[in-house]
C-alpha cells in the first residue's frame, strides 16, 4: 500500500476528530470528552444451555426423600424461610458465564455423589427465574431428572403453606 494512502487516511481521521470535538462543544446535548462516571450498562445474563423441565408446586417430588431440593434464592431469603431439607445455592445473576458454569459443575458433582434420584430447584419465581436457570445449568452439566418449580418460592407457599415453604 502506498504511503500516500496512509497519510490521507490519517488526515481524514484527524479532520473527523476536529469536527467531532467542535460539534460536540457547540451542541446543547454534548457529552464530556472523557467519561468519568461508570455507565449503567445492561448486565449480561448468563445463558442456560440445558433443558429445564418445569413441575407444579404441588409435585410429589418435593416430599420425596429421594429428591434433592435446591433453593436458588438469595441467602437472606433462604434464611428467612425455605422448604425443609432445601440446600441453599443462590444463583448469582452478576457472575461471569465461566464462573456460573464452574459452580454448576461443582454442584453437579455434589448431586451425583448424594445418591438422590431427583433434583428439584426453586427460585424466586420472577422473570427471569433463578430456579429455572439453575435447573437448566445443572441439566447442561450432565445431571438428569432436574426440574424447577413453576412460580418458584411464592407458588410453593400458595400451594401448600403447611410444608414450611418459602417466604
Amino acid at each position: 500500500m502506498r504511503l500516500s494512502v496512509l497519510r490521507d487516511g490519517f488526515i481524514i481521521a484527524a479532520l473527523a476528530v476536529v469536527f467531532a470535538i467542535a460539534v460536540n462543544a457547540i451542541r446543547p446535548d454534548g457529552i464530556p470528552l472523557l467519561a468519568k462516571e461508570e455507565f449503567d450498562i445492561y448486565v449480561p445474563c448468563t445463558e442456560s444451555t440445558g433443558e429445564a423441565v418445569s413441575v407444579n408446586p404441588s409435585t410429589p417430588l418435593i416430599s420425596d426423600p429421594s429428591s434433592l431440593i435446591i433453593d436458588a434464592r438469595s441467602p437472606s431469603a433462604y434464611a428467612r424461610k425455605h422448604l425443609p431439607g432445601a440446600v441453599s445455592q443462590p444463583f448469582d445473576w452478576l457472575a461471569e458465564q465461566d464462573e456460573v458454569n464452574d459452580r454448576a459443575n461443582q454442584i453437579a458433582r455434589r448431586i451425583a455423589s448424594s445418591g438422590k434420584h431427583h433434583v428439584v430447584v426453586y427460585g424466586d419465581g420472577g422473570n427471569p427465574d433463578s430456579g429455572k436457570h439453575w435447573a437448566a445449568l445443572l441439566s447442561a452439566s450432565g445431571i438428569r431428572n432436574v426440574v424447577y418449580v413453576t412460580g418458584g418460592a411464592e407458588a410453593l407457599q400458595l400451594a401448600d403453606p403447611g410444608i414450611g415453604g418459602a417466604e
Binding site: D8, A16, P32
Partner: protein
C-alpha cells in the same frame, strides 16, 4: 509479485465491481453513522456495554467514530481519496469484528449498536450472523483497497486532468 498477479489486479472490470462495492459500503456507513451522530450519549452506552474500552476512552470513541464513518462513507461514494477511505473502513471493520468476537465470547445479550442504539431497538441483536455480515463488509473494503486502484469518481477525473496537463 508475479506477472499474472499484476494482470489480475489491473483487470478493467475491477473499477465496476469496485464502484458497486463503494456505493454499497458507503451507503452502509452513512446509514450507520446518522444515529450515532445524533445521539452520542446512547452510542457511548452501547460502547460501554461491550466492556472492551477503558472508561475514559468511551466518550471520545463515541464522539469521533461516527464522524470518521461519515467522512469515509462520503469519500467512498464520491470516489475521492477512495483508497484512504477504504483503508479507514477496513480498520473500523477490524475493530468492530474484534468487539463482536469479544461480546460473543462474553455471551453478552445486547444489540450490536451498529445502526441504532440498543435503547432504541432490540431488532439488531449480536449473533454469529452479525459477525458474518461484518466479515463481508471487511472483505468488500479490502477488495476496494487492493483492486479498485483506478476508481470511477473524482479521483479518476483528477487523474485524467493531470494526464492531459
Amino acid at each position: 509479485m508475479s506477472r499474472s498477479w499484476h494482470a489480475y489486479v489491473d483487470w478493467p472490470g475491477h473499477r465496476w465491481f469496485g464502484f458497486a462495492a463503494r456505493i454499497y459500503l458507503g451507503t452502509v456507513f452513512l446509514l450507520a453513522c446518522w444515529h450515532k451522530l445524533a445521539h452520542p450519549d446512547t452510542f457511548a452506552l452501547d460502547i460501554a456495554t461491550y466492556q472492551l474500552l477503558p472508561l475514559w476512552a468511551v466518550n471520545a470513541f463515541a464522539l469521533v467514530l461516527p464522524w470518521i464513518e461519515l467522512f469515509a462513507g462520503i469519500l467512498l461514494i464520491a470516489g475521492y481519496k477512495t483508497q484512504a477511505a477504504a483503508w479507514l473502513i477496513l480498520l473500523m471493520m477490524l475493530s468492530f469484528i474484534i468487539a463482536l468476537l469479544w461480546a460473543l465470547h462474553l455471551g453478552l445479550d445486547m444489540a450490536c449498536g451498529c445502526f441504532a442504539s440498543q435503547a432504541a431497538t432490540d431488532e439488531d441483536p449480536i449473533s454469529h450472523l452479525t459477525l458474518l455480515r461484518d466479515l463481508l463488509w471487511f472483505g468488500l473494503a479490502a477488495y476496494i483497497l487492493l483492486f479498485d486502484s483506478a476508481p470511477l469518481g473524482i479521483d479518476r477525473l483528477i487523474e485524467k486532468r493531470s494526464l492531459k496537463q
